[in-house]
Symmetry: C2
Subunit: 523 residues, 2 copies
């Protein structure tokens, strides 16, 4: 197969058409170029469907529900990944679909986790022929990276996925929604039930735009579902009751406690110092942070500072973990806006605290709506590797295998006044700062600083920030020099070999342009 | 002007085209005929608009906001009527629009109240040339009834308006939303602020579908608006701060206390007895009632019965008044779903009680979504007059002048298992039961019983209900006989004279077909 390729504004070669996908792509031009050029974009919509009084929405079985949905060969199905590594719904649904003989589906989940390795088998048997997702991992990541799927995967950020659904680039025929609680009329929430997962922010977009919506629950409650409805009944066509939608204890990955690792603590302290020096830590400031070791430590430094200086933040945004919930409880933020909860403990807060507000993926980050990432003062982000131009890769490993996710990384970096990327200067003997990052997910022009345990590298575009950091006596280093310093310890890293003829995935920037291509790993 | 006219399934003559409106109309065929024939209907959508970080949404003035919205001649503007007789926003906005010289607008509010009499002047000066609304009253109703507006008014029910907006029959260019509270980013609620009006259920639909949304508030609060957001910031383009959006004490019309009028009490008791006899008053039953004297008395009989029999209802729906809030507080219902609050006192409940749930006009009653009226067991409704075929008029007075509103009348009657219409047998010497009701808003085939102080008339279609009523020894009367009984007291009523050449309004049934025409009143 030949596709025409073009060089984008990052100097990366990207295709204009993708084998197996109808859509034509434009190359990446700049973080807000498309938004500024053509701010108005048509919005897709789900059809309306009239019902007579007295209909029954509870299906006898998952199979009957799928039959009633009209799902057939070549259609698009979606799932959410709020149950993360504990999700049992995607595997369950794909098994039933496979047993029904339906083929050639497009799989358009919000992301794919370790719980979704079964997708490999469904690719091999022809049930799944196209995938668009935020991330891929494990043997599924390997299978894709070695070229097992003829149609390249489209990697989308959370904001980009919302945009794609809302503009009609992703047309969901049937959305399957793992529902920690539901009632017989289809009201759904993630804030109650034995497998409560907190926010259903990703699923909320699917429910609004999919042609047909099936809620799958292991906790059918009496009507009406109170006191919390995340997705209202008029957006759900059928309800299916199953034994178990998954295991919510597997939502949290890794330690939710503050790290004691001295490298992580050093990174966090450097990042916190930079945030302080930036002048943004004022009354009403807004903040997003991940749940990794160093990120959580940043939040804890922040907490101490806010208490000491008697500062109250405006809002916390994003994936919300237990630590942010504690800050809300302590009155250190006015509100949390939660598109995804990072551990099951958040569920109680989203249920009972009206200051903990569930938002959908579109309101979170779609660049073609007035999204909340645009209001962020500070975001603290992680990275797999970065380069001297401040580009960030959160998708492919040093071995060239896809093992990550785009997530909200490029969305928040673009929106926030200060986007700080935290990373150790090397991992497993391989330096983090490269000459040229393997896969660009977040363009360097939206990253203000890269913070390691060995120093802080400030994007030359941010002279103002550099000045403030120097004034505060922070350990600022030129990124090229830091790269050399690390390479003296580790040596130059080897790069994996790729078959550049074969694109296995493309990375779509949040505005729909292509920012990078992922090539097939040579065996 | 000549229009082609056709007889509909109610034997009423209706046009197929309307002067000044592009849309072609089908005649009414039956309450669910269109929904059954063509359940799928395309959904319209508002365009998406991208913003850069750092934009300011708070406009300097209402005029600047209107300029920025791009409003120009011939466009469509919308308003909500949650502030009812206390609304100051519609008059304020029309004044500014008029001063800007913009003409020929289509006015598409959720309804027009006594606070909106200024519309007459704007019709005369050419600012407003078309109107679609739920209701008209006062000198505006007179002006329309005497034919001052060349284009007939389209009267729509609440569910019908939501359907019209969602299918694109009403294309709102600019929605003006009176906002009892808003923040600088455009989050809006009716549940807080000096002029709190409770639910913003009608405005919620406008905000989703309008091309441009302007929130007008007299209570700008620090960001973010917590703990209650009714319309989220990503649906609002601009915020305008004014001195006063209106007077919330004027939301409630008439006494909110239980009537002591013996006629009303007799009607209410008869209605309650029928509801009891119907067998629907069981655990989990759902209910909607108005706030008129007799309706409120029905609710109070209901309350006593529920306490005595230890029955807990499922949900209360609809326009929610203070009495229903008391029932919720007493634990007599699981939840209230509130599309419109009938008095300002409801505001505190919608703010603080998570069992009091704000829903939009579409979820309430759009027949082309899985709307909540379809889940009603019992609705108690009022009437201006009715006829021997159980058709109900809630729009035109005995003098032929428009002085009412379609509201949710035909929506709830169609959806509920039992629709009971309460009316005194005569008012001001004029009998309520006619041979042929002046204007059909709600078709008799969706009305199960008409209850007066002189007896209960049961629709012959409901033999089951008749049997139950007779078994319970209720004062059942044939509707024709009751009509004659009343006419012996009052005499036959005179009918006003109309110019049947000139249609001044059409009554659209909730599915978009025309159920009746309103002709010009002869002077």
């Amino acid at each position: 197969m030949t596709v025409s390729r073009i060089m984008n504004a990052k100097g990366r070669t990207v295709p204009t058409r993708l084998f197996g996908w109808e859509k034509a792509f434009e190359p990446y031009q700049g973080p807000f170029t498309i938004v500024e050029k053509k701010p108005i974009r048509k919005r897709a919509s789900a059809p309306m469907r009239g019902y007579l009084p007295g209909r029954n929405k509870v299906a006898e079985s998952l199979k009957k529900a799928i039959e009633a949905s009209g799902l057939s060969d070549g259609m698009t199905i979606s799932f959410h990944h709020h149950l993360r590594n504990g999700d049992a719904v995607l595997p369950m649904v794909l098994d039933v679909i496979a047993s029904m003989g339906i083929k050639n589906l497009t799989l358009a989940p919000s992301s794919l986790t370790d719980a979704h390795q079964c997708v490999v088998d469904h690719i091999r048997s022809g049930v799944i022929s196209r995938i668009t997702t935020s991330g891929l991992r494990g043997k599924l990541g390997e299978a894709i990276s070695y070229g097992e799927l003829p149609c390249p995967v489209i990697i989308r950020s959370h904001g980009g996925r919302a945009r794609a659904i809302e503009e009609g680039s992703i047309n969901i025929d049937v959305a399957f929604i793992a529902a920690p609680s539901a009632d017989r009329e289809g009201n759904v929430t993630g804030a109650m039930g034995p497998e409560g997962c907190g926010s259903l922010g990703y699923a909320m977009v699917d429910a609004k735009y999919a042609r047909h919506v099936i809620a799958i629950t292991d906790n059918l409650v009496p009507y009406p579902l109170v006191p919390k409805i995340s997705i209202p009944q008029n957006q759900v066509d059928q309800v299916v009751v199953v034994d178990k939608i998954g295991d919510s204890t597997k939502i949290a990955t890794g330690a939710a406690r503050i790290t004691k690792n001295p490298v992580d603590l050093r990174i966090a302290k450097n990042a916190f110092d930079l945030i302080c020096a930036s002048g943004l830590l004022e009354e009403g400031f807004s903040f997003q942070v991940g749940v990794g070791g160093a990120s959580l430590a940043v939040a804890s430094f922040l907490r101490e500072y806010m208490i000491e200086k008697n500062i109250k933040g405006g809002f916390g945004l994003g994936g919300i973990g237990g630590y942010m919930v504690e800050l809300l409880r302590e009155g250190l933020f006015e509100a949390l806006f939660d598109v995804q909860s990072f551990d099951a403990s958040v569920t109680e807060s989203i249920l009972n605290n009206p200051l903990h507000i569930e938002i959908d993926q579109s309101q979170y980050a779609n660049p073609f709506v007035d999204c909340m990432v645009n209001l962020l003062d500070v975001v603290a982000l992680a990275a797999l590797d970065v380069d001297v131009d401040f580009n960030v890769n959160v998708l492919t490993g040093n071995d060239g295998i896809i093992r990550g996710a785009s997530g909200g990384h490029c969305d928040t970096a673009a929106g926030a006044k200060l986007a700080v990327v935290l990373a150790p200067s090397f991992r497993g003997g391989i330096p983090t700062i490269k000459d040229r990052v393997q896969t660009i997910v977040t363009p360097g022009e939206t990253v203000d600083a890269i913070v390691t345990e060995r120093g802080i590298c400030i994007n030359p575009r941010r002279e103002d920030l550099l000045e403030r950091a120097l004034k505060a006596n922070l350990p600022v280093k030129d990124i090229g020099k830091l790269k050399e310093e690390v390479e003296r310890l580790t040596g130059k890293p080897k790069t994996p070999e790729f078959d550049e003829e074969k694109i296995v995935a493309v990375v779509e920037y949040r505005d729909g342009t292509l920012i990078d291509s992922v090539y097939a790993r040579k065996r």
